[in-house]
Symmetry: C2
Subunit: 392 residues, 2 copies
C-alpha cells in the first residue's frame, strides 16, 4: 500500500449491491461492512477499549476537533498518538475536524482558505485549514484520515451546497498534497486518506464532487453532509444512486449515520463503513435497542426487506424494539435487559435493575446501557458480514 | 450457627492484639481483617460486582436507608433480596438505616420508639423502628444485619451521648427480639446480627454500652458513633481501649472509618471489619491513594509503626501518596497511574490519560479512579491478613 493508487480494499463477496470486504490499514485489517464506535476525545464513553473490542469492534473513530482542544497536538505527539494514549491497539479513523467546528464551536468563520473558530470549552481561538487538519491527524496518529471539507447545513440553498462542494474539492486537493508530504519517506505502511463527496441532496452536485475526488485519487470515499435534517427518503435516494457510481474497488463510508435500519439499507446499497453517536447517546438517556428475537433471523429479514426497497420503518420493525428503560413498566421486570445481546451484562442483569440504576443516578447504569446499544450495533454488523459473505 | 451463642468467628492467628480471623456467614466465609466496599443502593458506583470481587473484595455493604427508598421493600422481596437484584454472590452487610436517616433525610424526629423522617428524594414520610429495621434488612436479604441505634452527633454533650447510648441499648434488645422472630424456623444457616457500642468519646459510657450488649448477646460487635468530628487522638484512644474489652471470640467492626492509616491502627488494636466511603468518594474527585513502593513492605512498615503507637500521619507516610490527578503536573506524566496497584487498569493507563479523562468529563475516568482506590484498600487488607497470619 505504498502507492496511492493500489487499493487497500478487497471485495470478498457480493450480495446484490452489498459487499463483504476487507480494508487493510497500517494497524490491522477491518472486515466490512463495519461500524466504528466513537471515542470522541480518546475515550469510549464509559467503556474500556478491551470491552469494546470484546463486543466485536475492530476499528474506532476519534474526533480531530475534540483531540485538538484536549489533550492537544503537542501532548498527542509526546505520547505517540491517541491510540497509545488510550491503549487501543486496532485501527482508528479520524474525521477532519471541519464538521464539529461547524456544529460545536462558539464562533466560526469560513473563508476560502479555512475556518477560524473559538473553542466551546475556553473560548480560545484556533484555525483549521486543509494542511493543519492533515498535520493534526498526523499527530493523532490515525490509521485512516479524512480530507478537510466544508459542510453545508441541512436544507441549504443549492447555491450554498454548490459552494461548499466546490470548496471541499479544492480542500481535498490540498489535503492530499499535505498528506503526501507528511507521509513521504515513511518506512512501512502509510495511513490511508479518504475523500468526502458533498453536494447535499442534489444528485448532479454529488456526481460532480465524486468526479473531482476520483481525479485526485483517494484510498476510500465517504458520503458526507447527509443525516443533517433532510428527509429519510432523500437520504436513501442519494445514497442508493451515489453508491453505484463510487469506485467499486475502494471502501465507501457513510459519515455520521444512523439508525440501525439506515445502516442495513445502506449496506444493501453497497456502503461499507459507518459511524454514529446514536448507540452511545441513546444509552445515556436510557433508550435501548433490544433485539426482536434471534439476531441472525432479525438481520436477515431486515436485509431482505431493504433489498426489496422497503421503507425505513419496515426494516426497523424486523430488527428491534426501542425501549425506554426508565419507564414504570420495567419496575418489576425480572427478565434480562436483552437475552440476545452480545454483552454478557445484558444477559445477566434485569431490566428492573437497570431501571433502578438510572433512577438512582448510578453511573453503572450508563455502562450497562452503552454495552447494550453498542452490543446491538456490533452484532448487527457481524450478521451483515455473514449475510454478504453467504448470498441467499 | 443456629445458636446465637455459638460464635460464627474463628481467630486463626494473633499478632499482638491484631487478629487474623474467619467469619462464617450464610453466604460464604469472610477472611479478616476485611474492608467492605459500599454498594449504597445496590450498585458499587461505576463497577460491576465481578470487578470488585476481582480486586479482592469478599463482602460488600448495602445501605438500608437508600434501599428502603429505592427500589423499596416490596421490590426487594420480589427479587429475593438485593444480592440477587445486583448479582453479588458473596456476603453482604446492611447497616440499620439509623445513621443515614440522621445524616441525609430532610426532617427527622427521634422519639423513644423510633425515628420519623422525610425522604431526601421525594419528601415522602417514613418511620423506622428497631422492628421495622429488622424487617427491611430481612427483605434486603443481607448476610449480616445491624441493630437499630441512635447516633449522637459529634461533639455532643455527655448527657446526649448517654441518652443515645441507653436508647440504643433498648433498641438493641428490641432488634434482637424481632430478628429472632424473623429467623425462627429458618432452615439452614441464619443471618448474623451485630450490636453497636455507643457512648461517644466517654470510656465509661462505652463500657456500659458494651456490657449491656453482651448481656443481650450478638454474633458480633461494632464500634459506632466515631469518625464524626472528634479528634483522631480521641478515636484512637477509644478504639484501643474498647477493642481490648470486646468479646475475643466475636468479630469487631469499626463502622464508617476511615483513612488507610486508621484502618492499619485499628487492626493493630484488634479490630476485624471496616467500611468507608473514602476510596469511592475520593475517586469521584480525582483524589487517589497511590502506593509508596511495594505494598508488602509499605503495609508491614505502617503496621510496625502502628504497633509502636505512632501517630496517624506517621503511619500514613509509610503507606501512600495522595495525588490529585487533575493537577497540571500530571499533564505529560506517562507513568502508570500506580504500578503497584492490583487493578490492571492502574498499571496500564498513564496518569496523563486519567487526568485527560477527568478534564474532559469522561465517566471512564471515575471508573479508573474507583478501581485505583478500591484496589489500594483491598490490597492493603490482603497484606494485613498476611501480616496477622504470620507474626514477625
Amino acid at each position: 500500500m505504498n502507492e496511492a493508487d493500489s487499493s487497500p480494499f478487497n471485495v470478498r463477496a457480493l450480495h446484490g449491491a452489498a459487499r463483504r470486504g476487507a480494508l487493510h490499514t497500517m494497524h490491522g485489517v477491518v472486515e466490512t461492512p463495519v461500524f466504528m464506535p466513537i471515542a470522541t476525545a480518546g475515550a469510549l464513553k464509559t467503556l474500556l477499549p478491551s470491552e469494546v473490542a470484546g463486543l466485536g469492534a475492530s476499528i474506532i473513530l476519534g474526533n480531530t476537533y475534540h483531540l485538538l482542544l484536549r489533550p492537544g497536538e503537542k501532548e498527542l505527539q509526546k505520547f505517540g498518538g491517541v491510540r497509545q494514549f488510550m491503549h487501543w491497539d486496532g485501527p482508528l479513523l479520524t474525521d477532519s475536524g471541519g464538521y464539529q467546528v461547524f456544529s460545536l464551536s462558539k464562533l466560526n468563520k469560513t473563508d476560502d482558505d479555512g475556518v477560524t473558530f473559538q473553542s466551546h470549552i475556553d473560548g480560545s481561538t484556533h484555525r483549521l485549514t486543509a494542511e493543519r487538519s492533515m498535520e493534526i491527524q498526523s499527530a493523532i496518529g490515525s490509521s485512516i484520515r479524512m480530507q478537510f471539507d466544508d459542510v453545508a447545513a441541512g436544507n441549504s440553498t443549492r447555491d450554498r451546497y454548490s459552494e461548499a462542494m466546490e470548496r471541499s474539492l479544492r480542500w481535498a486537493a490540498r489535503s492530499k498534497q499535505r498528506f503526501d508530504e507528511l507521509n513521504k519517506g515513511v518506512e512501512g505502511d502509510r495511513p490511508l486518506l479518504f475523500g468526502i463527496v458533498q453536494g447535499g441532496t442534489h444528485h448532479d452536485l454529488r456526481a460532480q464532487s465524486l468526479q473531482g475526488l476520483t481525479e485526485i485519487g483517494f484510498d476510500g470515499y465517504a458520503i458526507g453532509g447527509l443525516s443533517v435534517g433532510e428527509s429519510r427518503e432523500d437520504t436513501f435516494r442519494i445514497v442508493r444512486s451515489l453508491a453505484k457510481e463510487m469506485p467499486a474497488d475502494r471502501p465507501r463510508y457513510f459519515m455520521g449515520g444512523g439508525m440501525p435500519e439506515e445502516i442495513v439499507a445502506y449496506v444493501s446499497f453497497g456502503v461499507d463503513m459507518f459511524d454514529c453517536v446514536l448507540p452511545t447517546r441513546n444509552a445515556r438517556h436510557g433508550s435501548l435497542f433490544v433485539w426482536k428475537g434471534n439476531p441472525a433471523d432479525a438481520v436477515r429479514e431486515a436485509f431482505t426487506r431493504a433489498m426489496d426497497g422497503a421503507a425505513d420503518f419496515r426494516i426497523a420493525e424486523a430488527l428491534y424494539d426501542k425501549i425506554q428503560i426508565t419507564n414504570e413498566r420495567f419496575m418489576s421486570d425480572e427478565t434480562p435487559i436483552d437475552a440476545w445481546n452480545s454483552a454478557e451484562t445484558s444477559r445477566t442483569f434485569s431490566r428492573a435493575y437497570l431501571r433502578h440504576l438510572f433512577k438512582t443516578g448510578e453511573t453503572l447504569g450508563l455502562r450497562l446501557a452503552t454495552l447494550q446499544n453498542l452490543g446491538f450495533y456490533l452484532r448487527m454488523m457481524e450478521e451483515l458480514r455473514l449475510i454478504t459473505a453467504n448470498p441467499l
